[in-house]
Each structure stands twice: as structure tokens, then as C-alpha cells.
């Protein structure tokens, strides 16, 4: 009996494996009425929360495009996999999308910079365009020489840091306590901040923390010894809530500036920090404050439409920045595809993206060029504040 089961198991594993290889030798690559777009986001594993938001953003874009009749009559056939935060799984899935599923274009790089960096050589090697939704600038730089087919719809940390520095200068802040987490998100920002701040005459004191940490008071207290005027955390994890609570607990009522990076722009996080989050200042795309900015801003209607459609689609949930970035990435791809007339050749798409001029998206007005595959500038960054119940722009 048990022998039968084990034999069965062995055989089925073998069969399944060879079937997945055999059955799909690039068979359905060129079906005329659809365009296959592949996406990886980590909807399980450590960054699952974020990955889920990104998936929703991309999914919304696909639904909208298909509902509008697709791209020149071709519907998007969307292929989605979950690498669960693991780069080698992502590499395998990227190969699967390109070699087996017949994916013609990839949007979304797994939700972590490491994964996007791992995917880029594969997509580039096959001449496939790749529009990433991850932060690290190495994904697309240097654009013209090394990454001609790869774009991203996120802010370079450089842009964010420049905006921060301008903000600090305007508020006469010269001493900053910086707490990045030890993930790639925090580390990339740390590199940029420690590179750019000294040039601007700002002294940065850094203490990193583990994203899984449950108490950050030693770091806060230690940094407090340097008398900083502002505390800035850089994380996408719930540890940011602990940061806010601990900061309030250690510093009491002192009126230092409490800041977070764009990874933490999330209503839920802010609410969960309770009173400790009130007054927190964040650098962010304009999306969270779309209803508080000048209606003459060309981005305003785009953001409003997106926020409304998203809330409608996902039961009243407010989109966060990550959902916006994924939506933008998909829409940039669609715009380029419309320009090429549905041709998915990597170089043609890349040319089309670079020729889009200004693509007004929900997280910024993208201006891609041959040398800039990020497309966002300091003008797209807003400084916002949590007033205890919602985000508002800071003048």
C-alpha cells in the first residue's frame, strides 16, 4: 500500500516536472489577440503586505485597460507569480514567464530591489522590456550603456534625499538622526544620504535597526546624545510604528521633527502608532494628498480617478504609494505599447517609453529619456504630514 503511494508520488513528481517543460515549449507565444504581460510581486513572505498592494495596483490597471477595449483591440493577458521575496525563485519564474509562458513584456520586479536587480540581466539578455517598480537606482543606471531596455516608475533615492535636504535647509536643520532598517530599502537610502548630506552641510548620525526589531529605544537614546533637530526613519516595515512610539516615549514632549521616508506613507501604520504619529512629516509622492493640492496640477485628476477606482475595486481601501507605482508601471507599459501599435519588441518599446514625453501618472509626471530611466524628479516629491487623522501637504 505504502509502496504504491510512494511509487505514485515519485512518478507524479517526475511527470509534473517533464510536463511543465514539455507542454509549453514557447507554444502560445504569438497569439494575435492578446499581449502577454508578466509580473512578479512578493505577496507572501516578509514583504507580503506591500506586494499585495502592488499587485492590486497592477491588477487595477490591467482591468481598466481591458475594459476599455485593450491596446489597439488586443487584450492584456496578465501572468502573475509570487517569488515570496526570494531572488532565485524570482529568476526561475522570470525564465518561466519568458521561455514557457510566452510573456512579451515584464512589469513589476518582485517588490524588492534585489529581485528587480536579479531579473534585469535575464530580461535584457532576451531583448525584453522590463518596467520595474522597485527603488534601487542600480536597476536602471547607467541607462543608456547598461540598461537600455529597463525602466522603473519609482523615485531614485537620490531624488528623495535631495528633496529632504532642501526641506531641511528651508527649516534650518543641520543635525539629523537617521534610522534606516537593514533591508535593501533602508540601505540604499543610507548610501545616498551619507553621500549627499555632508555636501549640503548637514550632519547625519546613523543607527540602523533590524526590520523585525520590537524595541528601538537604545538607538533613539543613543542618537539623542547628538542633539539632532530631526529624526528620520527609513523603512517599509511595521518597525516604523515602533520607531514612532519609542521616539515619543524617549523624547517626551520635545518638539524635534519626526520624519519617515516614502515607504511608510500608509494610513494604517499611522493610525496604529496612535498619538505618537501625529505631526510626523514624510517625503512622498503627491498621491496621499491628491484631494488637498491645487486642482490646476495636471496630476490631480489622474490621482483622483485612480484613488476612486481603487477604493471601488477593493472595498473602500485607500491606495498607498506602492499600489500607485505598480499602476503607473503598468500604464507606462500600456502607453508604450499603444505607441508601438502592440509591437512588443524590447527596443521598440524602450524607444516608445523614451518618446512618451511627459506621462502623467499617479505617483508623478514621468519624463523618461535615453539617459534617465526613472523619469521622476524632485518636483514630483511632496512633503506631507500626518495630522492625526489624515495626510496633509506641508507648505
Amino acid at each position: 500500500m505504502r509502496k504504491k503511494i510512494s511509487t505514485l508520488l515519485t512518478c507524479s513528481v517526475l511527470l509534473a516536472l517533464s510536463a511543465c517543460g514539455l507542454g509549453s515549449s514557447g507554444s502560445d507565444t504569438d497569439s494575435d489577440d492578446t499581449i502577454k504581460i508578466g509580473t512578479l510581486f512578493s505577496v507572501s513572505g516578509a514583504g507580503a503586505n506591500l506586494g499585495d498592494k502592488m499587485r492590486k495596483g497592477a491588477e487595477l490597471a490591467v482591468k481598466q485597460v481591458n475594459a476599455d477595449g485593450g491596446i489597439d483591440g488586443k487584450k492584456i493577458d496578465w501572468v502573475f507569480y509570487d517569488p515570496a521575496g526570494d531572488t532565485s525563485t524570482a529568476v526561475q519564474q522570470t525564465n518561466r514567464m519568458l521561455d514557457s509562458d510566452g510573456v512579451e513584456l515584464i512589469v513589476g520586479g518582485g517588490g524588492s530591489s534585489g529581485i528587480a536587480l536579479a531579473m534585469d540581466p535575464i530580461t535584457s539578455g532576451r531583448g525584453v522590456a522590463f518596467i520595474a517598480t522597485e527603488g534601487a537606482r542600480q536597476i536602471v543606471e547607467p541607462a543608456a550603456e547598461a540598461h537600455p531596455l529597463t525602466f522603473k516608475t519609482t523615485f531614485n533615492d537620490t531624488v528623495m534625499v535631495e528633496r529632504l535636504i532642501a526641506f531641511w535647509k528651508a527649516h534650518d536643520i543641520t543635525r539629523v538622526a537617521f534610522m534606516p532598517d537593514t533591508s535593501s530599502f533602508g540601505q540604499s537610502a543610507q548610501e545616498e544620504l551619507e553621500r549627499l548630506a555632508p555636501e549640503a552641510g548637514i550632519k547625519v548620525f546613523t543607527a540602523a535597526f533590524d526590520p523585525a526589531a520590537n524595541d528601538l529605544t537604545p538607538q533613539v537614546k543613543r542618537l539623542a546624545g547628538n542633539d539632532p533637530q530631526a529624526y528620520l526613519a527609513w523603512t517599509i516595515t511595521p518597525a516604523g510604528v515602533t520607531f514612532l512610539k519609542n521616539l515619543r516615549s524617549v523624547l517626551g514632549d520635545s518638539d524635534v521633527m519626526v520624519m519617515h521616508g516614502f515607504g511608510f506613507v500608509d494610513d494604517r501604520y499611522m493610525q496604529q502608532a496612535g498619538a505618537a504619529s501625529t505631526g510626523t512629516i514624510l517625503v512622498s509622492p503627491k498621491l496621499p494628498v491628491w484631494d488637498r493640492i491645487d486642482a490646476s496640477d495636471p496630476q490631480q485628476p489622474v490621482m483622483e480617478d485612480f484613488a476612486t477606482a481603487y477604493a471601488e475595486e477593493y472595498g473602500g481601501e485607500q491606495p498607498n504609494v506602492y499600489a500607485g507605482q505598480a499602476y503607473d508601471a503598468m500604464m507606462v507599459a500600456v502607453a508604450a505599447l499603444r505607441a508601438t501599435g502592440g509591437d512588443t519588441d524590447g527596443e521598440k518599446i524602450a524607444d516608445a517609453v523614451e518618446a512618451l514625453g511627459t506621462h502623467v501618472g499617479v505617483t508623478g509626471a514621468f519624463k523618461f529619456t535615453a539617459d534617465d530611466h526613472s523619469g521622476l524628479t524632485v518636483d514630483d516629491v511632496a512633503v506631507i504630514q500626518w495630522d492625526g487623522s489624515r495626510f496633509v501637504p506641508v507648505e
Binding site: 506586494g51 535597526f209 523585525a212 528601538l216 537604545p218 537614546k221 543613543r222 524617549v250 496612535g274
Partner: protein, 293 residues
């Protein structure tokens, strides 16, 4: 030297250490009963904290009621864990049980991810949000409660192991089914009780942890491993050792965060684990035989 920072480091260490201690005690209880390492322990913490917070946040259940319900749910999960491991009578060695606990931990985590829809949930402290100021340092009121919980749990367990019949059996068993038979108790019965106790301890740790941070489906795994390091530090299976080990590990991490390279703070637990196994494998207060003869 900045005494404020020193006090802060110690307070932080005690705050996190109390949680580690509760987790470590749970590891010890299961180890004594089955000889296995229960990798589900960290997930009990997650389920306890996350379900309490979800009940509170999503269904407006009063905090205390939510905590009690969460503990009950986690205990149920503990019973189910025992069934999943031993209910089929096929896993007989500590090593195979240990491996099966990993599978169960993965299942619980995967289910929690879907049920919580990957969201984070917060739980307020039953003592309110305020913080305590101690000689220029500060900590949340919850920390005091957590320390108290850890001490009470350890004392209660120590008494339980020494004074009650079930406790003596559990302690004497140490995973040896033959010994158990001479006691006239079945292996399954003691194992089930051990899982009930361990799950309850985990849930309490989770409910105590939630107010310090926020809970998500991912909150348990690393905490479990660190709690295990604490258990080894104090001596696996010894409740008082677990308390000491937990607090010391917490303080060691805080010292690294406050004085050393903060980015390496989470390496501390595992370096401690390696060091203690190399230098004194029975832990500082342990009696178990860890080295081959």
C-alpha cells in the same frame, strides 16, 4: 558615561527580554515532554498577538476579552499541533517530530497570512499608552506588565513542575515514553498538556508584545528562533534558566543597539546560540546532558 543611555539599554533589554523569556519557557516545556524542538512556538506568539489585535481592531472586542479569546484560540492550536505531530503515531523520534513542527509552523503562518490579508494590527496596552520615566530613560508601562508576566509564568511553572503530579510526570518524562509508562501515563497525554501550556505561554507573550509594536503574520518566526537561543542560553527545559536567558539575550541585543554596531544587533542572538553551545552546551542553568560521552 551617559547613564541615561545605560538605563535605556537595560530597560529595552528587559522589555524585549521578557518576551524572549516567555517564548523560551515554552520551548523548554515541549522539550521536556517530547525531546523535540517545537518550531511552532514563535507562531503561537504571532497567533496570540495577531488574533487579539484583530479581534480588537476589526471587531471592536474589548482588549481584555480579545486577549482571553486569543489565548483560547492559541491553546486550541496547540492541541491541534500535538494531534498533527503525534496523532498518527508515526513520528517517534525527537528529530522527526522537530521536522514536522516546522511544517506545521509553515502551515499556521500561511493560514494567518490569508486570514489577516497581510495587514498589520495593533493592540493597545491594558495599562494605557503612557510611558514611565526612570532616571532619564523611559519605557512603556506594558514593559512592566510583561516582566511581571514572565516572572509569574516562570514561578508558576516551577511550582507546577515540582508540586503537582502532572508537573512531576511532565518533568520526569523528558520525552522518554518508557519512563512514562512506568508512571502509568501515556505519552500522548503528557505531550498534549505540554502543548497546551506552551501555546498558552506563546499567546501571553504575543498579547504582551502587541502593544509594544504591531502584529502581522510574519511577527513570530524570527522571535521564535531568538526565543530558542534564549532557551539554550539559560538551559533548555529549565524555566528559571529561560527567564534569565531571555532577559540576558534582550540586554545583549540592546547593548549592541545602543553601544555597538546597531545593524548587527540581530546577529547577537545567533552568535550567543553558537557560543553557548560551544562553551557550555547545557546552558548556564541547565542540567540536561548535551555532550556525547
Amino acid at each position: 558615561m551617559d547613564t541615561g543611555l545605560l538605563i535605556q539599554v537595560i530597560l529595552s533589554g528587559l522589555s524585549v527580554g521578557a518576551i524572549y523569556a516567555l517564548v523560551a519557557v515554552g520551548f523548554g516545556v515541549i522539550f521536556n515532554a517530547t525531546g523535540a524542538i517545537n518550531f511552532v512556538q514563535g507562531e503561537y506568539v504571532m497567533v496570540g498577538g495577531l488574533s487579539a489585535a484583530m479581534l480588537y481592531e476589526a471587531w471592536d472586542v474589548p482588549v481584555l476579552v480579545a486577549i482571553v479569546a486569543a489565548v483560547a484560540l492559541t491553546v486550541l492550536l496547540g492541541v491541534l499541533t500535538e494531534f498533527g505531530l503525534l496523532g498518527f503515531g508515526r513520528l517517534r523520534t525527537p528529530a522527526s517530530i522537530t521536522i514536522a513542527t516546522i511544517a506545521i509552523a509553515v502551515i499556521i503562518k500561511g493560514a494567518a497570512m490569508l486570514i489577516s490579508d497581510r495587514d498589520t494590527y495593533a493592540l493597545p496596552s491594558v495599562l494605557g499608552a503612557g510611558s514611565l520615566q526612570v532616571w532619564g530613560a523611559s519605557t512603556s508601562r506594558q514593559t512592566v506588565l510583561n516582566l511581571l508576566l514572565a516572572v509569574v509564568a516562570v514561578v508558576a511553572l516551577a511550582l507546577f513542575f515540582q508540586r503537582t503530579k502532572l508537573g512531576t510526570t511532565l518533568r520526569a518524562a523528558a520525552g522518554d515514553s518508557e519512563t512514562l509508562q512506568t508512571f502509568g501515563v501515556s505519552y500522548r497525554t503528557t505531550a498534549r498538556w505540554a502543548f497546551v501550556i506552551a501555546a498558552a505561554l506563546g499567546a501571553v507573550a504575543g498579547a504582551g508584545l502587541a502593544p509594544l509594536t504591531v502584529m502581522s503574520f510574519d511577527s513570530g518566526t524570527l522571535l521564535g528562533l531568538k526565543g530558542f537561543a534564549a532557551a539554550m542560553l539559560g538551559g533548555l527545559g529549565n524555566p528559571r534558566g529561560a527567564l534569565a536567558g531571555g532577559l540576558m539575550l534582550g540586554i545583549a541585543e540592546a547593548v549592541m543597539s545602543g553601544y555597538g554596531a546597531a545593524a548587527y544587533a540581530d546577529v547577537v542572538a545567533f552568535v550567543v546560540l553558537l557560543a553557548i553551545l560551544t562553551l557550555r552546551p547545557t546552558g548556564m542553568f541547565g542540567t540536561a546532558q548535551a555532550v556525547r560521552t
